[in-house]
């Protein structure tokens, strides 16, 4: 008598075959990637790769090459990736050189950061610069005409006309070195101009970097009462003698509670030479830029008086310059 067993054995054979096939394809002889691209690197290797790109850029200043290399990593936002890595490295206590290199490359890529922050648009006649992220206009009038090198020399008599919309402002200007001579780009009419969104197109505008030089000295100490601030703030701007923002400058904030160290330029959207921190209430801080920089003391969380009574948080803006 013949036994009727149907066709289940075929399905069994098929399943056994598939299992063998998958086992061979995935375990015994998996697809080997021996010619990978940097985009497939593990996240930490990508960080190392990115840091090396920045280090190479710091050395050769070849932005086109750096951009081409960064493109290999296929980051969604190269600018952000660099800035975030710089901050991560800083938070982990990584190498200062690495942080500076990453910050410098980020800034070089994002010469025109988004929002009203340190962006410089050169034209033959005028230089328009948005200096700070609030509605604040700072104008500097050159006292001499442009020279043949098209870089006029001006004496630092910046007229601060902080006329604010919805803000009250107390200006407390301290010129650290009255005899210092500042050189600014042609017609430095500094206005707070809304800027288009940052593009990663390299521009011919050079970015100053933290280079060895004299210690940073305070050029201005301003109180800003901005009702839109929800917490007190201390803002720092580092600039070169030529008025260019300087990234990668060490900011040392000391108080009775200890010391904090960070760098300018880690918030590129607010300017290349910009840094800030939130002070604690009732704590007095001293700030200096670099180990040998001029200390600025007695900085506390600023409280501003509302016209109709009451208070709101304000900010200190400290402008430093490297003579």
């Amino acid at each position: 008598m013949k036994e009727e067993r149907g066709s289940w054995y075929l399905l069994t054979g098929l399943l056994i075959g598939i299992a063998i096939g998958l086992g061979y394809a995935w375990v015994v002889q998996p697809v080997r990637y021996i010619n990978t691209s940097p985009a497939s690197l593990r996240a930490d290797f990508k960080d190392r790769y990115r840091a090396l790109i920045a280090a190479a850029y710091a050395s050769n200043k070849d932005l086109v090459r750096a951009k081409a290399r960064l493109a290999l990593l296929k980051d969604a936002d190269v600018f952000q990736a660099l800035s975030e890595q710089a901050q991560r490295t800083l938070a982990k206590g990584g190498s200062n050189d690495e942080v500076s290199a990453l910050g410098l490359l980020a800034l070089s890529l994002g010469q025109v950061p988004p929002g009203p922050a340190a962006a410089i648009t050169n034209s033959p006649a005028t230089v328009t610069r948005a200096v700070v992220p609030r509605t604040r206009a700072v104008s500097a009038t050159p006292l001499s005409t442009p020279t043949s090198t098209s870089i006029p020399t001006v004496i630092p008599t910046e007229t601060v006309s902080d006329t604010l919309v919805g803000l009250s402002l107390v200006v407390n200007t301290q010129v650290a070195r009255p005899s210092a001579t500042f050189t600014l780009p042609p017609s430095p009419s500094l206005t707070n101009t809304p800027l288009p969104r940052r593009t990663n197109t390299p521009t011919p505008t050079p970015v100053a970097s933290s280079t060895p030089g004299g210690p940073f000295v305070l050029s201005k100490r301003l109180q800003i009462c901005d009702q839109e601030l929800d917490k007190p703030l201390i803002e720092i701007q580092a600039a070169s003698l030529f008025g260019q923002p300087v990234p990668g400058v060490l900011v040392i904030v000391s108080s009775t509670g200890g010391e904090q160290r960070f760098y300018t330029g880690l918030k590129p959207e607010k300017g290349a030479g910009y840094a800030d921190f939130i002070p604690e209430q009732g704590v007095s801080y001293t700030i200096r830029l670099g180990e040998g920089g001029q200390p600025v003391s007695e900085l506390t969380a600023l409280e501003c008086q509302r016209l109709g009574g009451g208070t709101f948080w304000g900010a200190w803006l400290l402008k430093f310059v490297q003579p």
């Binding site: 399905l11 096939g21 697809v31 990637y33 690197l41 190392r48």
Partner: protein
């Protein structure tokens, strides 16, 4: 056709399906590779980056550490291979020179440490 033959054919069909799925449709993906697996031209550029950074920093140990990311091959040999590849690919002379400078620096270090250059 006997049942055993048909069973064997079913297994072979299954193996084929498994291989097609495992190798083409859904292959093992290496999304977190190491620099060691980079294609040779990327490795060459990596070495060039190390050489460029070395030019600015002058730090041989740091350069060696960076090259170490490319695998266990001795750094000197890596740079040598990169120079060969760079010449093959057609790198600029100035770039090749940078790598040669790095190799010289590593050679000096290697001699100091008592190892032989390739």
């Amino acid at each position: 056709m006997s049942r055993w033959i048909r069973f064997l054919i079913a297994i072979l069909v299954g193996i084929s399906l498994g291989l097609v799925y495992g190798w083409w449709i859904n292959p093992t993906e290496y999304v977190a590779t190491s620099p060691e697996s980079l294609k040779f031209d990327y490795k060459t550029d990596y070495v060039l980056m190390v050489a460029e950074a070395y030019k600015g920093e002058g730090n041989t140990l740091l350069a060696e550490r960076r090259l170490g990311l490319l695998g266990n091959t001795p750094p000197l040999q890596m740079v040598y291979q990169a120079i060969v590849d760079a010449q093959k690919i057609g790198y600029q002379e100035s770039d090749v020179q940078l790598m040669q400078t790095l190799m010289s620096a590593l050679q000096t270090g290697a001699i100091i440490q008592g190892t032989q250059p390739p």
